[in-house]
Symmetry: C2
Subunit: 238 residues, 2 copies
Amino acid sequence: MDPQADYPPFAVTVDLVVLTVRADQLSVLLVRRAIPPHRGAWALPGGFVHADEKLADAAARELAEETGLTGPVGHLEQLATYGDPGRDPRGRVVTVAHLALLPDLPTPVAGTDADSAEWQPVDRVRTDRLAFDHARILADGVERARAKLEYTPLATAFCPPEFTVAQLRTVYETVWGTRLDPRNFHRKVTGTPGFVTAVGRATEGDRGRPAQLFRRGLATLLYPPMLRPTTPHGRDLR
Amino acid sequence: MDPQADYPPFAVTVDLVVLTVRADQLSVLLVRRAIPPHRGAWALPGGFVHADEKLADAAARELAEETGLTGPVGHLEQLATYGDPGRDPRGRVVTVAHLALLPDLPTPVAGTDADSAEWQPVDRVRTDRLAFDHARILADGVERARAKLEYTPLATAFCPPEFTVAQLRTVYETVWGTRLDPRNFHRKVTGTPGFVTAVGRATEGDRGRPAQLFRRGLATLLYPPMLRPTTPHGRDLR
DNA sequence: CCTATTTTCGTCTATCCGACGATAAGCATC
DNA sequence: GATGCTTATCGTCGGATAGACGAAAATAGG
């Protein structure tokens, strides 16, 4: 196919909404753009898809480049695709946004093609200064993450391989911005089949009673789901 | 931006998974391809995105072309994007798949750039003979539709503007392939805030007691959700 | 020891869901 | 027009679940 002939040529990129929970804050990985357009502005990490590369591979490659991660840590999924004609001044660029959830890694986050990269709490991001349409992509990614915590065990993607129920609860509280009763949460998590499996050991050295350590279970969907407390998300009027 | 210079050029298409409920069957709109590649094979309707066109507009345009619909009927949303290097023999084509849910329209379904178009029950589609990677896109679309019936009032998109509880129940039963208790379903639907609003009139002429007519409510998310009966979707092992 | 802290187990109650009986309200047929 | 058939709608009952909260267990720090 010759794009010049019949159909308009597009450039295709992948952008990443990389979320983590650190210091009791849901945070997103942002890079400062070193080249135009939007030079100097904060943006989601991303880049062009190579000629013979799958979309998911491109996203995984960009994630590895930005975080230094190699192995399959956390979670990566396609989010949505954004392609409004005017979204990139360079021309017709369609971006396939992906959502990544990572544990709080002591990541150096060295920028390669960006001045710098850093974690920013999502509720302190100056969305009005983000490059391109990345404010909307970020909002969609955060909303997707919040919703997915309800029906999937994806909260474990924010945790290290072994974690306590309290750590998992902190993830929920941080992402949702709510407080959860530790006793009911404990019952719910340990009672939902496939959510977590006990590893048999416990923490030591911390304050309070030692906590059992768990790993992520086999379930891909939670049943029953972990519903958000009051006013669950979009419980609309009437 | 010159795609020839720095980055590989892509063609971008939209493909549509158009679903409806007709004759107690969840059915998908398929077209028979009139041109190569995959000439003569069944495929999802779709086409190239124009040079100055939003993705959603392209999807709406294709939907209108294939169904003859003009006004905003039913529901249309982005599904996912598929761009594996080898998925189209003509070159690097990325397709942004969309999901459309429509009421059972007496649609002529006249093919424009296709030999013919027709509704096919999704469980009778010869997925091994669908063009490109459309079998997977179809499967993803059906699964998305099934899942969304649980948490959203989208089942109403399969219904005409005014419908009875029984019609809505038939939609659920057809899409999910299950049977639902009419009494519990009635209680659930009328008791979920914002799901449906009574229009005040009732059906006449049918068999049995006349049924109240409803319209879609204002809610965008159902709370509590309409959970699938036994073995809810992915209730995995353990 | 004593206390503070955190984990974990139980209890109580309101609510929700599935199963199912009972009634309402139309049409068909005699 | 009475009877029966069909479908819609309302109620009831029991088990399961979630939220509120008490209580015990298990550690660290004085």
